[in-house]
């Protein structure tokens, strides 16, 4: 088939699939169901092939079986000790058999053990810089309200100092961290009016945070729709069908 024709057919199917999948916004229908199943089938089939070609074959099978020399390349010896991984991996599927389900705990235990050991260091590596950044300077070291415009001469000096506006921003951040943390004190009853006010403000601050996250999420969903509309009206209709 002519590559141009093939490409046009491929794009047209993409357009029909897009309309099919969005048709659920009107109501549940068979056209949507059809394209949903096509999508799931394609994704599943692709995943199987990709897992074998991109992962299992190069990372496990080729190491186990070795390879014969290709033109200009070198062969590699096989190490059959890699075959041990197969029965260990297969044990995971024993979870479907009541009598032998205990076997599935062996690979799960290995994975959990490795993961738990890694987490000790990972936790510190992930959160220690964030602990530090949650405790910024709240006392200004320069008594000018705003940071002046940077020049090549004062660039390093600016970074060393905290200006009043920056200190206020840092203070808000510190208060937010403390208020939000206080909201999660569930072990003791907070009777003081002050602490009740702090936890309440923590709840409101959390809600503001969730609102910001929701706004960002909505923008992303819009962008995905815009991309699909661009695909249909510009890439398919305008550029391919009308040749603009």
């Amino acid at each position: 088939m002519n590559p141009e024709t093939y490409s046009l057919i491929k794009l047209t199917l993409g357009v029909i699939a897009t309309f099919g999948l969005y048709s659920v916004l009107y109501r549940e229908n068979k056209f949507y169901r059809f394209w949903e199943h096509v999508f799931l089938g394609l994704a599943g089939g692709w995943a199987l092939v990709a897992l074998w070609k991109e992962t299992l074959k190069p990372s496990w099978y080729d190491k186990m079986a070795g390879s014969i020399p290709e033109a200009g390349g070198e062969g590699t010896p096989g190490y059959f000790v890699w075959a041990i991984l197969l029965p260990i991996g297969m044990m995971g599927y024993m979870v479907f058999n009541k009598k032998h389900a205990w076997m599935s705990r062996i690979p799960i235990g290995i994975i959990l053990g490795i993961w738990s050991g890694q987490q000790l260091l990972n936790f510190w590596r992930t959160y220690s810089p964030q602990f530090r950044s949650s405790m910024p300077t709240i006392v200004p070291t320069r008594w000018e309200f705003m940071q002046p415009a940077a020049t090549p001469e004062n660039f390093t000096d600016l970074a060393r100092h905290t200006y009043i506006s920056e200190a206020i921003g840092n203070l808000i951040a510190v208060i937010t961290v403390l208020a939000v943390l206080s909201y999660f004190i569930f072990s003791i009853e907070l009777k003081s009016k002050f602490m009740q006010g702090v936890t309440k403000s923590g709840r409101y601050l959390l809600m503001i945070g969730f609102g910001a996250i929701f706004g960002s999420t909505v923008m992303m969903r819009f962008t995905l729709l815009i991309d699909r509309m661009y695909f249909i009206w510009v890439e398919w209709m305008s550029q391919r069908l009308l040749g603009n």
């Binding site: 991109e54 996250i213 992303m220 995905l224 991309d227």
Partner: protein
């Protein structure tokens, strides 16, 4: 989903009408090609600064974990990023760790941009010599842990085709010349629509310069890592893509021929050049999608305002 009961005398805008309005707005505005004024975010400016100042003698590892489903955001970011890396002649070691479709999507994008750049510069950007695919790692936690311990050992068994089409160890590629440890690379860049950026930060943070390009959904939680310095630069969502494209088109804090600085930032104050040659593609999907995004947001705000007005009206009517 249950259909809300119609109240006599109220607006009663059906859900389908709102969806239809959204489709119309997004469809019409994709044809409107105007440049909206843009104030570049600090995180995007830092990202651009790091990319422009990157050590070109060492490769970057580019973890691409997005697929066509987030092409609107991640695709625009990835294109801008790869355009910068190829124009700067930085070698790329490409990998994926989240979705089996991700490697092919990324490879296709690199090949397309390599051809596009060659038309301008005349310099080819070849697979194996300039960029290499180092693998798809479904168990990304364990893989990154082994990268962190010994990069050469972790990758020596992974193969890619050389220029003659022969499969060879990726560590034999010119991309990895003189590279043995993760500390030897110039940056670890992750383009993702999921939490894989966090997994990478957990294992590699502090060992190598890390940069992130994430979707709007992942933006708020990834921003913490930028604030704490674990990510040296960050692009978030479509705004991040548009920021990058704007800086590529006009430079950052760089005056044009008439002495006007079109794109500036308060945090990154040193001037950083863009790619001002007319043949370069700078403003791409980030710029094309930002106008419809504004239209969609205005529609959303209008719907919220109308909904609130209607709620107040109904409450007043109930209370007499």
């Amino acid at each position: 989903m249950a259909t809300p009961q119609k109240v006599p005398g109220s607006l009663n805008i059906p859900r389908e009408a709102l969806f239809a309005a959204l489709f119309v707005v997004c469809s019409v505005l994709v044809f409107v090609s105007i440049e909206l004024p843009n104030r570049v975010s600090n995180n995007s400016a830092d990202l651009y600064k790091v990319l422009k100042g990157i050590d070109k003698t060492k490769p970057v590892i580019l973890q691409s974990d997005w697929t066509k489903s987030t092409r609107g955001e991640s695709g625009a970011q990835f294109d801008a990023l790869v355009r910068i890396l190829i124009r700067e002649r930085v070698k790329i070691a490409l990998m994926s760790g989240a979705d089996p479709q991700a490697p092919e999507v990324a490879r296709e994008a690199i090949r397309r941009i390599a051809v596009e750049t060659e038309k301008v510069t005349g310099q080819p950007y070849k697979q194996w010599e300039d960029w290499v695919f180092i693998g798809f790692f479904p168990g990304i936690e364990a893989s990154l842990q082994s990268f962190s311990s010994n990069l050469r050992n972790a990758l020596s068994a992974n193969k890619d085709s050389d220029t003659a089409g022969v499969k060879r160890s990726v560590m034999e590629s010119p991309v990895f010349n003189g590279i043995n440890r993760i500390e030897d690379i110039s940056a670890y860049i992750i383009v993702t629509a999921s939490k894989t950026s966090r997994i990478a930060i957990e294992r590699l943070s502090g060992k190598v310069t890390m940069l992130g390009l994430v979707t709007g959904v992942m933006g708020p939680e990834t921003y913490n890592y930028y604030q704490s310095g674990q990510l040296s630069g960050l692009a978030i969502g479509l705004k991040g893509a548009y920021d990058m494209e704007s800086m590529m088109a006009y430079g950052l804090n760089t005056p044009d021929g008439e002495g006007v600085i079109k794109v500036s930032n308060a945090k990154v104050t040193d001037p950083i050049e863009g790619y001002t040659g007319e043949q370069y593609v700078n403003l791409a999907n980030g710029q094309k999608y930002i106008v419809p995004l504004h239209g969609a947001i205005i529609l959303l705000i209008t719907a919220i305002v109308l909904g609130n007005i209607e709620t107040i009206r109904q409450r007043r009517r109930r209370n007499g």
